[in-house]
Symmetry: C2
Subunit: 330 residues, 2 copies
Amino acid sequence: MAGIRDVARQAGVSPATVSRVINGTTPVAADKRERVLRAIEEMGFVPNEVARSLFKKSSKTIGVIIPSIRNPYFTQLADVIDAAAKERGYRIVLYNVHHDLDQERAALQMLAAANADGVIVASNNEALQEELAHYQMPVVVVDALFQTRQVNAYLYCDYYQGGRLAAEHLTACGCRNLVCIRGVQGLYTAQARYEGYRDYCREHGLTEQVVECDYDFEAGLSMTEELLERFPQVDGIVACNDMVAISVYKILHKRNIAVPDQIQLVGFDDIHLASLISPELTTIHQPIDAMGRRAVEVILNEGHLPKEGRRQSFPVSLVPRETTRSKESR
Amino acid sequence: MAGIRDVARQAGVSPATVSRVINGTTPVAADKRERVLRAIEEMGFVPNEVARSLFKKSSKTIGVIIPSIRNPYFTQLADVIDAAAKERGYRIVLYNVHHDLDQERAALQMLAAANADGVIVASNNEALQEELAHYQMPVVVVDALFQTRQVNAYLYCDYYQGGRLAAEHLTACGCRNLVCIRGVQGLYTAQARYEGYRDYCREHGLTEQVVECDYDFEAGLSMTEELLERFPQVDGIVACNDMVAISVYKILHKRNIAVPDQIQLVGFDDIHLASLISPELTTIHQPIDAMGRRAVEVILNEGHLPKEGRRQSFPVSLVPRETTRSKESR
DNA sequence: TTCATAAATGAAACGGGTTTCAAAAGAATG
DNA sequence: CATTCTTTTGAAACCCGTTTCATTTATGAA
């Protein structure tokens, strides 16, 4: 690989001048610039990014840490972040940490050691939280919120409201026997959804019926079986996310339980897949795009949320589709 | 950030000794090692990865370039590659190039400039192919194959056989009016699938009916409409991939066309989603895991496929599920 | 105890751009 | 034409681990 010194020799100038031509930091005489440019062209010179970022202490890179690359919610988020970052001349490095604290730690350390310009973390791990504060690069936490706020920026949705909306919609669609498949409690994102559901039920004299479940498909399948056994009367299900909702549907379908005629179903997240499967899934929409774009903005703003304080909440909304009864048929 | 020289001072040794303790390259006296370790601990020292890789010319990183992070086929592939790489002490950097040649180029250049130890590219872009040869880092092309083979290793599946299997299965299930939704021709992966289908039809006296379609969901939706219009007699559909198959199903479902009773459907890829949706999708299984793991092996083997030549083909198989008639009901 | 080997250790160079600082060249003023 | 202020430009230091190479220290044999 040709280096900057080779180019300099070829062009008959010093390495410093070559650097200046490349970066446009200082004006260079037209004839010399010309020679340098030609030498670069001829030798196919590409500046070594490692050397550059060693000095600059910036790598034009934003780290993105997600718990699972298999969950479409996170890949969608990563995709927007990617697009937003590229628009601003940054690239992202995606770390897929398989829900594993050690891998999260390792990713963080690597990013720090690699002079990343910031990190966007989608982690519900409270233990990691504390470590986050030790790094001096900007950190933004998305899709999570903690009591002990160590980091400057938390971006999350109004999950509580989402839980309420789901319960409200099912009730409005005629359900009287709601069951909530809630995510593991202790995780804010899961808990808030549940509490929204719970409060709505309490306020409207509905008995709250709950089943607990991990966020993935496999867990959704087995939990649904359990749910049907424990609550045979059920006529409305609030799932903790869309992937689980899809697995719920799968079981119902297998048992020939009609959706939405016998049981109505509401998911959470509104991933693309929700409107792609048949029947289309009624779900709580999260503004994933807006959240992702904002995360990048905040990182490039040194990790600070300007005026709003240390956290920013995004609104959710209910998208009625085919797994609940439409207005017309009510 | 504390540097190795700070640690050295604190421990009363030279930076060289600290480096040796960290890397275990040369034995260090027990008492000094002890002091160094304590100093590292106290100062929370983490070696700067950039400086390290500048010297080592290796970053323990494998680049993975995929055309779309939204297509589950590629995220699944990335996930295995990630796991396989981590097992061997490497990390991956995922580049999501949005099917864009310029972004592919940029990704490649960045990887080269970042001292990546190898690149795994899932690209059907022939133009990129040629450039690939210019880089001296190991490159493995997955899910593609070219006439002009510039790179040392191509990993791909027996797509042709997949096309045959799909046609054969539909025929065995009683279909007489097959239509193939083929991917954009010119791409080997798409063309081979189609040719398998075509040859089977010719050999068995079936008229070949074809419709062309991009690999994504939106294209699948509109193409299905067109298909039904052009071939109202259709009773079996071979889709170019699972995402398209899902969109086909969506349209059929919307039109109240029963699957598999009126029309049977075969996808391609066997992404997880295929068995997660309802009804479960009959599809051609690609050994994504094996391919991903092999890709990592080859990279760490300097990008060479040892004996087998410059390419390795993986077998496909048909997985009968719910969108075609099962043996029992035939 | 002494000389020869082997092992541990530090000083300095290295990798490859970038930037500082001072010298050199050019432009402007008197 | 001399003098001063600008603008270019190159030499060298820098970023920070790693490694070479020579020196020091330890080990073993004589």
